[in-house]
Every structure is written in structure tokens, then in C-alpha cells.
Symmetry: C2
Subunit: 360 residues, 2 copies
Amino acid sequence: MHERFAAKRPATVADVAAAANVSKAAAARALGGYGSVSSAVKLKVLEAARRLDYRPNELARTMATGRSGTIGVIIGDIENPFFGSAVRGLSDCAAQSGFDVILSNSDETIATERAAVAVLLAKRVDGLIVAPATMHDKAHLEDARAQGCPLVLLDREAPGLLVDVAIVNNQEAARDATQLLILADHRRIAYVTATAAADVSYESPEQIALATVRSRITGFLEASTLAGLPEPGRYIRLGANNTATAQAIIADLLSAPDRPTAIVASDSKIALEVFRAAKGLGLAIPRQLSLVAFDDADWTSVVSPAVTVVAQPSYQLGFEAARMLIERIGGTRTEPRRCILATTLIKRESTASPPMRGDF
Amino acid sequence: MHERFAAKRPATVADVAAAANVSKAAAARALGGYGSVSSAVKLKVLEAARRLDYRPNELARTMATGRSGTIGVIIGDIENPFFGSAVRGLSDCAAQSGFDVILSNSDETIATERAAVAVLLAKRVDGLIVAPATMHDKAHLEDARAQGCPLVLLDREAPGLLVDVAIVNNQEAARDATQLLILADHRRIAYVTATAAADVSYESPEQIALATVRSRITGFLEASTLAGLPEPGRYIRLGANNTATAQAIIADLLSAPDRPTAIVASDSKIALEVFRAAKGLGLAIPRQLSLVAFDDADWTSVVSPAVTVVAQPSYQLGFEAARMLIERIGGTRTEPRRCILATTLIKRESTASPPMRGDF
DNA sequence: ACTATAATAGAGACCGGTCTCAATACCAAA
DNA sequence: TTTGGTATTGAGACCGGTCTCTATTATAGT
């Protein structure tokens, strides 16, 4: 009979006030640490609170103050190590400033993203960090802003949306990675990426709704045309969104008679599938196929050959996004800022000159 | 002058009611879809709501009803693929039932975990899913329950805490994995795990605060003693919590004169470090060193040799945890349930008989 | 001692929903 | 037309905090 399974109603300020024989307002002040309270009252109240095991109802506080101490985060896919690390960074930063984080997965679909924004807005988060699934459909983001909810874009820009962004220079990164391959005499270079697309093959930039992917392809094409490669777009493949389709796309690419001699993989999951496909087809990396991948996933340095990667500062990206957001929440009303972090091209063992040099 | 940057106060039921010329109560009923409203009033209200771009304040609703439609989740480390996948599973399940998820990282430290519980409770989540950092310190979990907040444990039990759990049979899984090595004639088998511990070496089960790890070590020892291995505990190593210390521990283990001929890695991150260390020391897997790892991380099937693993149904673990929790929230008051999912020992290429058979 | 000023206490409105309850409107049956 | 019953409506309390505003008390200054 020891109050087990009690589920007794938690104590409120009113309860504490009654127990301490002071007014609700006085108790609230003592508990909330605002206004002015005599030390005698404070003592009584704190003691009563302890006795009743009082815990403030954060919701009620939020209602009254308008501030929730929470930031909402919407990313594409938790299981992608890039986002895992970014979330880590942003949580760490948020925690430092006493904010906590509500996380939502958009599954890279705009409908889910829109719903998530609505939910988070309804929960009255103090700010929003979003990695938008598409750069086109941004009405929901715009009216978050219109409602006065600060917004920071993570990893992906949305042209025309005048908000803070934390990104890397994808175009430059892709250009450099491609140039590395070109310098090794590759002339048939593929770019495989995971973005929603009606068709697997590449027609024009407008086709691509993901800012990050579009920039990278621009960089890839830039390096390619600069080097005078013929039809540089012909080896671009979109839509490698999951293991199965990625595998199909890559296998198809590598079994063609004029198969590419090098592949740029747009993320570590795709790189993994390239590895798997090469193994399956008996293609030796880097002797018969060179590989450069985005994201320095932990396994890339351990496999043989170790994979040459474009390392992205994902943790910092998240951290900076949170930092900027919290600054905004603090009230700084300045021009939108673009926090552009540097990528690092880490040369390892997965690139070499193509077989049968000069052939194409 | 087009209401840009307006941050205008969002419309409330009262606003809508006024605009529709009905009482606040009537508008609330029309909007909330409860009580009874004439279709005439309903129409007027909905129209007014549309015009004013009304969005319900979820917080106010929660305050009034006591239900938040949110479940709180506390895990050890987002960056661990195991948890990434579990979170995915539990989010998917929650979404199906219209719940959303607040996620917190405990960093595997009890203090952070306690703080996280407090925050989530204060935010009045409808239920809690926790992967407790330790099985000892469970007061915070107990009083979540005492406050009437349903609780489900994910992946890790806490003996004495009578709540639903979604786990695997770690003891059995570890026993089977160890036996696989024993059958291949290994007699010096190491177990490397990432749990907080004062000392790296193993003394007794009491030393280990993580339910999962303790069970696995029990299984490991069980198989070892059954096979009559001498001092089976001498190759157990604790505290491999991050890359650096894991690397140190493994290197130390493998450079000893009577080094183990096989290693069981308690998670994929450790397996990766074993891989790295073996490469560094010039030890060939599996010829000179066999490896079995927990968790079927994506890279394990791609590296050479592919790693033999104990695959855990992490997605389902998360999904089931959420399913049970939501059932509890629904009000079913039954005995605590233990949902025990099966692991799968996937034999690949990283195990073989030890070199110089018979030596020890 | 007697005001001027500051510190503290209490009452009650407010945030934006839900929900109870009493009052009114509407309908069919008698 | 009167009655009984149901559908709809509006007023206002409530959730648990914050916060403003007034009343009271304490402290200081001359």
C-alpha cells in the first residue's frame, strides 16, 4: 500500500503554494526564479516543492511564455551516416544552449516533410532546421518563416528562400573530385547519385530537385567539359535511392561495352554498392575501375583498397546550423547568412589510371 | 507592403469564432470535430478558418486533454547504425498510429539520460522508449512509471523494472557465435566490447552495468567453459567506447605473445577497428585471425573477407517497442511483456581454423 | 519621527485549446 | 396545441504555468 502504481496527479505550483502557505504567484516566482521573493518564502516553497516532488509542466510554461526551448529538425534519413553525424552536431550545440531537439524523418518526400513542418510548428518549436527534400516546393518553409519561426537550412539550399544555410561548396567539391580522375587520364567517368527522378538518365539541371545534387552535377560537368570529354552527361545516373535500384543502376552501367572507367559516388551508401557490384562483376578497384565517393564513412578507410573520398564536415554542418538558429532565436535580425564549410578530398587507394590508356 | 516578414500572431479559435459569428465553443467543436454542430455552422467556421489560415495550437490542446500525441525516445548514440535503424523502425510504427517522436541522445551516460527523462516528462510525452545506459540506476525510470507515463525498454533490460521490453537473446547469440569459433578449433578467443568500466579487463559480471553486454559475456563464457577453455575471461576487454581506445585495446590484445586467434566484436564499430588493427599489424583475416561481429552493418558484407556477423533485427526491435508502447498508451493494463526477437548468425568469410592448430 | 523608495506579497488575467452544463431550438408524437 | 426528447448553442471553468498590477511591508534618508 505504498503508492505503487499510483499514477497520482503530479504536483502543480498551486499545490506547492498551498503546502507552503503562500500565494500561487509567490510560489511561482520562487520556483521559476524570476521576480523577487524573500529568502524565507523561497525556502518554504522549495522545501514544499521537494516534499511534493514538484516538476514544472514545460507545456504550460511554453503556453504562457511562447518559448518552448525546443528546436525542430527535419532530415531526409536518419540511417544515412551523414545525417546521423549532423544530428549529433546539432544536438550537441543545442544542448550547450539548453535547447532540446525534436527530430523528424522526411524520408526525402515532400509530403512527409510538409506534414513534419506542420507538426513542429503546431508544437511551437522555437526554430526549425531543415534539410529540404526538394528546392522547388518551399511554401511550407516560407510560411514557417511568416509565422515568425526562425529557419535554417542544413546541407541543402533552396534558391529564393532567404534564410540562413549551413552547406558545403558541392560544386567545387565535385569538380575537384572529377578533376582528380581526369588527371589520372580517365575520359569515361560516371556520376551516380540518389535523387528522386522520373528517369535514371540525366537530361538537364531542371530535372534535379535536390540543391546538393544539382551543384555536384554542375561541378562534375564543369570539370568534364573543361577537359573536353565528349558528352559528359551520358554517364550520369539518378535515382539510386535504395540498395536494390542502386545495384541495378551500377550493374547496368558497368556491363555496357563502353563502360566508364571511373565512378563518382554521391554518397557512401552508393559507394558501398559500387564496391559490391565491382566485386560481383570481377572488376578490380582501382586497376579496372576507379572510385571516388562523397562522405568519409568509417568503412571507407578500412576496406581494400581504401576509398578516396570527399569528406564532408557533417558534424560541424549540424553544429553551425544549430548555432545560427539559436542566434536567430536570440533575436538577431540580420541578413541571411551562408555558412559554407570546407570539404576535404582525401586521396586513398581507389583511384588509378584507367586500363588500356588512351582507349575510348 | 504585402505582409512580408509580418510574424503576425497566428489565428486562434476565438479569432475564427469571431470571424464566423459563432461562439468560441461552437467554433472549437467544428474545428476539433467533437460534440455536435449544425452543418451550417460547420461550414461557416471551416470557411473562416481557411480564410484566416487557422492552425490549432497543439500545445494548448495537450494542456487541455493531457495527451500530446508524442512519444519520447532516449537512445545511447544516434551515430551507431544499430540505433539509427531502431529509431527508423520505431518512428515508422509511431507514424502509423499518428504519434510523433522526440529523440534524445544519452551519450551512454546516466546523468544525461536522467536529464533527458526529466525533459521529456516535462514535455508531457504520452510514453517513453528508453535504451538505458545502465541497469543499476533506474530511479528516474521508475518514477516516470510512477507518474503514469508508460515505458518500454529497447534492446536493454533493467532487472527489477517491471515494464515491457523489446530485446534479443544476447546470451544465446553470443554463445552461438563463440561456439562457431570453438568448433573451428579456436581456444584463445577474445571478446571486445564498448561499455563503461573502471578497468579494461574483466573481473565479474557485477562490473558490467549494461544488460546487453552482461548477457553476451555470460553467453561467451558459457560456451567457453563448456568447451573447457582455460581462464575464458582473460581475453575479455571492456571500455572500447571510441575509436581511439578501441584501437589501443585491440592493438594491445593482438600484440601479446599468446594473442587470441579469434575475436568476437560486440558491435560493428569495434569490428571495424579490429579490421583496421589487423591490417595495421599485418594479420590476415581469417587465416591468422578470425572475427565474428555483432550487427550486420552494411559494410560487413562488402569488405574482403566479408565478416561473419550476428545480425540483430534492429528495425523490428524499434518497431515492436513502439507497438507495445502505443498499446500501453491505449490503456491496456496487463502484465509486462518481453518481446524477444531472434538474431541470425550469418556465416561469411571471416572465420577459419586458427594457425598452427593445437598450439596454445 | 516621517516620508521616500525599494522590496515583497497576493489577486487575477492570460496563453489557446477542451469540455461541462444549462439554455434554447427543433422535431415528431399525442 | 402541448409534450417529450434530441440536436445545437453559448457561457464559462479548466489545464498549469507566467506576468502585470496593486497593496503591503521593510529599509533608508534627513
